[in-house]
């Protein structure tokens, strides 16, 4: 429909959002319902991302979601449009959206780290405070990326992936 200049450049997008699963689903208020929704989010993300060659990682804590998406610019933009429309989260704040030389999660259609992951609540709690100043967004974006890289890398070692 429209002409894009470099739709295939590799881009990385990092955002955080507030979880509102309880409002969006009928049984999201229970722990069981929450877990079911999270599994659904991750499995559908993995399925789509595999076909679209998007990789990344998703972090979930009490403070909300943070996600890293990597792939061709156009695909990342399209994936983000789908994510932005998802009613299970709100107040989506993009922390960074930049071209990148390499993927941080080349082997992961969507790695998932939940509340049990060490240090995740701290980082995401800080990230949730991010205001509108671009400086702190950049810091928050790299905080999220570093944390997820560390967590996913640990998991790679422990599972032998």
């Amino acid at each position: 429909m429209r002409k894009v200049t470099t739709p295939t450049t590799l881009y990385r997008l990092i955002y955080r959002s507030r979880e509102v699963i309880a409002q969006a689903t009928s049984d999201g208020a229970t722990e069981e319902g929450l877990q079911r929704e999270l599994r659904a989010i991750v499995s559908s993300a993995r399925w789509r991302n595999t076909t679209e060659n998007v990789t990344g990682a998703l972090l979930f804590t009490e403070a909300g979601f943070a996600q890293v998406l990597e792939g061709a610019r156009e695909t990342v933009e399209r994936t983000f449009e789908r994510i932005a429309a998802d009613r299970r989260h709100a107040d989506v704040t993009v922390l960074s959206f930049t071209p990148t030389q390499r993927r941080s999660f080349p082997d992961w259609p969507m790695a998932f780290c939940d509340r049990s992951a060490a240090g995740s609540a701290d980082v995401l709690g800080r990230v949730a405070e991010v205001g509108t100043f671009s400086g702190s967004r950049v810091t928050a974006g790299s905080d999220v990326l570093r944390l997820l890289e560390r967590l996913v890398h640990q998991e790679d070692i422990s599972t032998g992936a």
């Binding site: 429209r2 894009v4 200049t5 881009y11 932005a84 709100a90 959206f97």
Partner: protein, 570 residues
Amino acid sequence: MREPWAMNAPDGLAGGISSARPAKAPVRRRDRSAEGLASRVLAHLPLAVAVIDAQMGLSFWNEQAAVLFGVPPLMAVERPSLADILVRFGALAQPQRDRIVAFAMAHIAAGDRAEPDGCLRLSLSRTWRIAIQVHGLGGGHWMLIVDDGKVTAGGHPAARGSGDAWLDSLTGLSNRRHFNEMLQAALDQLTAESPQAVLLIDLDGFTMVNETLGHAVGDALLCLVAQRLRRETRDHDLLARLGGDEFAILIPNGGDAEILAARAITMLTQPFMVEGQRAAISASVGIVRIQDQGASADDVMHHADLALYQAKADGGRSWRLSDPAIVGEIQARRDLETSLRRALTLGELSLVYQPRGNVASHSLAGFAARPRWHHPTRGPMPASDFMPAAEATACIVAMGEWTLQTACADAAAWPAPMSVGVSIAPRQLQQGDRLVAAVDRALRESGLDPARLELEVPERAVRDTAAEVLPTFHRLRALGVGVVLVDFDVGPLLLNRLRSLPFHGVVFNDHAVFDAAADANHGSMLSELTAAGFDHIGCCFGDVLTSAAEIAAVMRLHAGAGSDAMTAAE
């Protein structure tokens, strides 16, 4: 097939291009009230329209005319003459320009009520033909309609019968024409059991995206907006792009219009990733519930437009339901804004200067600039008659910028160090970046010494938002200009907060001064202010020149405060 001339714009079009209904004359009947709508209709007309006066000066032209002639859209301060404009229309040969001028002249000679006398057809190239008609509009105005042949090459779009006549080519949504027809059809079938609603959606911040990221990103963003809105609507809702960044939804079952409006705003406020750029916009929505049988599509859209205007005026990112009870009030505010914009463009505003005395030395220290409106029908109006109402409209920002520019230019010609005071409206303070840029520009263009400009900030502008506007004050002070708090009502004095603001002066309102004179505590407060380092403590009596008696009252106060700093100006 309808000839384009048969449209008889703007009356015929204002009700939508609905050939099935007899043309009413709603626009002309409430000419001014529908001015905004009419000018938008003109902007979407597939014809170039220009209005000329008896001297052939152009007083109005729509965007199509601007594109065709290569002149800037909308009104200009000067009225370029038709002949000058035609020179810029490169495709025209000299004899063709002369024919157009003669054609217009013949119509002007026939009077401003004359019916069009034929149609002037000119060939600009082998495939490009234009047709010109002149209509007398009355009131010393004639309208030139130029059909540049591009739209009508294959017949009128409505007559082409192809699918895309109903589709917006950018987003693939319904277009304005289709929306209007569907709305009219829905109105014709309206029953008490089937309430309808219209949402009129206008993007907040889209112009900024277009300007900063470019039109390609802007267009791509509009496509994403369409996609997000489509996701929120149901199959039986009609979603259309009316043009520009304006969308509309016709909801056959209008019960949940507010929910949809809130949802649409939420969705459009989420960030957009487009063409490798991050774009942040939001949306405002006007809602009309249609209950009246016999309402016209024109009425409905007009009310939706007023509700939208209200949502925008209240800061955007919100929806407003059209309320028949206050339609008149909003209309009045909107009319005022339209006339003020017009006044600015046509130079109906001027500045009057109130002398500012130095109380201690009984000498003239400078002047305070106050806008005066030479209203075309009501005559000269002082600032107090229109500024309070103007402050409720977005137009105040443009007016404030004009005042800054004009006052600085005037003051630059006064002997130094005579100062000029310019009022700053709360709305200007809320747009800090723009205000700082405007002050900077006014100073640069006039060459006025920044120390001679004194910005007057009313206390109510900082009462609840001091922290948010603080950086703006610091930036203004950094430019070297003075910032004075005016209309200061003593009341429970917030001296500490005053100290935290980078003002160099305080001007009390008259009421406060007289209260202060009667109250010893306030007297000591004044000395505290002096001790706090305010260079400038004064009193202002609105538009009335400070009388000797009043100055004396201030001076008595000054004597009580035991300081020499009490002057009405630095």
